[in-house]
């Protein structure tokens, strides 16, 4: 009796409570993530190709230099930025609108909500394959629609750089808007009703009600959604690879596609590691900026 309570109190000692609670999480992440990350980080400082028998040669920033001086990395990052901005932007707008739509109670709400959530439950590969079919000039629904009702010709969406980008952005936004919607919805329904009732009494306009009551509750979740969607979309690979293979030319070649090619097709292993860490650095900088701005505005509010 004594022994166990002694152990437990050591465990639950207020000083240690914090670390104890977070320890399991940190351990798992360390085991699974840190070692491989260190490995590939280290590898980026060598000159190594996985398909030759030559041993890795330590060469400081050789890989980084190689990667940064080849023109295509900047183009690739730019393409990635376009796709991320486009897709996440659409997700935010439509996610919010859909959440507003479903915020009130109405008949059949639960079933209809499931319809809207369904796209998110499909795998990336499934979405890519069927959207490729939709965009197909001969068999695809898009082209057939355009052919029957607008022009008389087959519509080739993926044949132009702009069209291909739109195609990718649209497919990605379609799949993940439910994610944003769900988070925003969770925020919307947690607004205490009495706040609205008080606002009614004060005869606040709809817009003021929205900005002073609704939005603050929703904001933190909306920001969380944007944060995570951005981080995930930067890595986008399956959708692009299957839909356009990075084409036409290199118009939709994202950093995810480039890293895959460099690592698994060209076997420039250390270059791909360097690319990954350049990307990581860029995302870290952007995310820190983002979080900093959020914190600033939150402290302003108080």
């Amino acid at each position: 009796m004594n022994r166990s309570s002694g152990f437990l109190s050591w465990f639950m000692d207020p000083k240690r409570r914090g670390p104890m609670l977070i320890a399991p999480a940190i351990t798992v992440l360390l085991l699974v993530n840190i070692i491989p990350l260190m490995w590939s980080f280290g590898l980026s400082f060598f000159k190594y190709r996985a398909n030759t028998l030559k041993l890795p040669k330590f060469s400081w920033f050789y890989s980084y230099e190689k990667v940064l001086t080849k023109d295509n990395i900047w183009e690739t990052l730019q393409t990635t930025a376009i796709i991320v901005a486009g897709s996440v932007g659409l997700q935010m707008i439509f996610g919010f609108l859909l959440a507003l739509l479903f915020a009130s109670q109405f008949p059949l709400r639960k079933i209809l909500l499931m319809f809207v959530l369904a796209p998110m439950m499909l795998s990336n590969v499934a979405v890519a394959i069927y959207f490729k079919l939709f965009y197909e000039p001969e068999f695809g629904l898009l082209s057939q629609f355009v052919q029957s009702f607008i022009t008389g010709e087959m519509y080739v969406l993926l044949g132009t750089p702009a069209g291909a980008l739109i195609g990718v952005i649209f497919a990605d936004a379609w799949q993940w808007t439910p994610f944003v919607m769900l988070l925003v919805l969770a925020g919307l329904v947690s607004v205490p009703k009495h706040l609205y009732e008080a606002a009614e009494i004060d005869r606040m306009s709809w817009w003021r009600k929205f900005t002073t009551i609704t939005f603050p509750y929703v904001r933190s979740l909306l920001l969380l959604a944007v944060l995570f969607r951005t981080i995930e979309t930067v890595k986008i690979f399956d959708l692009v690879f299957i839909l356009t293979n990075g084409g036409p030319g290199t118009a939709t070649e994202t950093i995810g596609v480039l890293v895959y090619r460099t690592a698994f097709q060209f076997f420039r292993t250390s270059n791909s590691a360097a690319m990954g860490y350049i990307l990581l650095f860029a995302v870290i900088v952007l995310t820190s900026l983002y979080l900093y701005v959020i914190k600033q505005r939150e402290s302003e509010e108080i």
């Binding site: 996985a50 398909n51 030759t52 028998l53 197909e136 000039p137 001969e138 068999f139 010709e153 087959m154 080739v156 969406l157 993926l158 044949g159 132009t160 750089p161 356009t244 293979n245 990075g246 084409g247 036409p248 030319g249 290199t250 090619r261 698994f264 097709q265 060209f266 076997f267 292993t269």
Partner: protein, 475 residues
């Protein structure tokens, strides 16, 4: 009680010893060969046929286990397995272009010493068709270093609609307009050159509702179609053929380090050839404008009756004759693909070969190597090869393809065998993928109309020259 227990224990022990002894005499040992294979019928056949027909002999049992990996991810999976040092596979089905990358990585084994020591293997190698031997087994390309054996040989043939091309009315109309015959039989197609395709495609491109072969069309139709796909090697496979038919070439690996890329890849004849390819493309189905007219997209169009002919791999032929998958299964004929007329009046039909060899890995034990060669001899034997062809596979062993009755085994065999003498391969060097990817990107830009032929080839030549000089393959 104890006595009884003792007796039972003893009996138990005895039976164990006996069974070990018995199994020892029946199966001295089992050697298992694990082979990485893409998941499709030709490899499934190999597993099934092995399980049912492999003649075990001697006191060593040989077990062949194919690890089926989806085609789409085959390369990623194999690359990850090899580069991680997993050493899981004894044999691997490889693409001929990957040879360089994985040989230099130390994963694929050189087979010359085994072949030289074994007259049966020697005979097998001599029996292989020269072009395919060079394509599937040699690294560098066309050298005498041998690394593999054929699993599924492949090349392009022309699949065409007999109901359209052999229709008497269509024939009469075509003759009236162009003065030539619309090719119907195998022999007719033998004299077709690419320039004829302009006429054929113009003639056969019709809209929904117009008449064709006596019936109104229920949808638009187009003529002869070939690849224009950015993914993997699709465009390059067709374009390389054009380069060679015009007398041009790609960078010549067998001539390192003297062979150049600059001046060769963007030579005038190559530009001419590529321009012809692009011009012809514009007479074909609009899907090519996406840069996504790969082998499967084309096959889908043909199976659904949207194009009158496709130039595609024999390996994609099985669905064409399958009534569940194909609307044209009983109205398809097979011929060689068109060629290019040369100055001396002959037709050049150079093309890029396809198919896959399988290789042996460098970490195999002697037992495994012996077992592997037993399997290989069985696989390339007459009976097994014929059975494979009957089930949709192919062979490149001269004694088999030139034997009587081979052409009757599959409707496309005649075209396949006749095309074999005109096959070359693309590079085998490790830098293959980098060269290919850039080339595919550039071709894609030309195909989708963003740049012209000359600029495209100049870009490619410049890139290849730079890359190959960097790795000392050009001096």
């Amino acid at each position: 009680m104890l006595n009884l227990t003792k007796k039972i224990l003893l009996a138990f022990l005895a039976s164990i010893i006996v069974s070990i002894g018995v199994s020892k005499t029946v199966n001295a040992k089992t050697v298992e060969i694990i082979m990485a294979a893409p998941d499709w019928p030709p490899t499934r056949f190999m597993q099934e046929y092995f399980n049912s027909n492999f003649p075990q002999s001697g006191d060593t049992e040989i077990k062949l286990t194919l690890d089926f990996i989806p085609w789409d991810n085959f390369y990623t999976n194999v690359a990850a397995s090899l580069t991680s040092g997993e050493q899981k596979y004894s044999m691997i089905v490889s693409d001929s272009q990957w040879l360089g990358a994985f040989i230099e990585g130390g994963y694929f084994q050189k087979l010359n010493k085994y072949i030289d020591a074994d007259p049966e293997l020697q005979a097998i190698f001599d029996d292989m068709h020269q072009g395919y031997k060079e394509g599937y087994t040699t690294y560098p390309y066309k050298s005498e270093n041998y690394y593999g054996f054929p699993q599924f040989p492949d090349n392009y043939v022309n699949f065409y609609r007999t109901d359209i091309f052999c229709n008497p009315e269509e024939n009469a109309a075509f003759r009236a307009k162009y003065g030539k015959k619309l090719p119907c039989t195998y022999a007719d197609w033998e004299i077709v050159v690419w320039d004829d395709i302009f006429n054929i495609n113009e003639f056969l491109t019709r809209k929904k509702g117009e008449m064709m072969a006596g019936k109104p069309l229920d949808d638009d139709i187009f003529g002869v179609t070939y690849q224009a796909g950015k993914a993997y090697d699709f465009s390059s496979m067709q374009i390389n053929g054009f380069f060679w038919q015009y007398g041009g070439d790609i960078w010549d690996e067998s001539n390192q380090p003297n062979a150049q890329a600059e001046g060769v890849v963007n030579s005038d004849v190559n530009v001419e050839a590529f321009t012809k390819y692009l011009d012809l493309l514009h007479t074909m189905h609009p899907s090519h404008r996406t840069g996504g007219m790969g082998i499967f997209e084309m096959q889908a169009l043909y199976l659904e009756g949207k194009i009158a002919s496709m130039i595609n791999w024999v390996g994609l032929g099985a669905p064409v004759v399958d009534p569940n998958l194909s609307k044209v299964n009983d109205i398809t004929g097979y011929s060689r693909q068109p060629g290019t007329m040369q100055d001396d009046g002959t037709i050049s039909r150079w093309a890029n070969l396809g198919g896959q060899p399988f290789v042996l890995t460098t970490w195999m034990t002697q037992d495994e190597i012996d077992a592997a060669f037993t399997i290989i001899k069985w696989w390339l034997s007459y009976d097994t090869q014929i059975a494979a062809v009957k089930a949709g596979g192919q062979s490149c062993m001269k004694s088999i393809i030139y034997s009587d009755g081979y052409n009757a085994l599959a409707p496309w065999n005649a075209a396949y065998v006749a095309s074999m003498d005109w096959q070359k391969d693309v590079w085998h060097i490790p830098e293959f993928f980098e060269l290919l990817t850039q080339q595919q990107e550039e071709f894609d830009k030309a195909i989708t109309g963003q740049q012209d032929a000359k600029t495209t080839l100049d870009n490619i030549a410049e890139f290849q020259q730079e890359l190959l000089e960097e790795v000392d393959r050009i001096q």
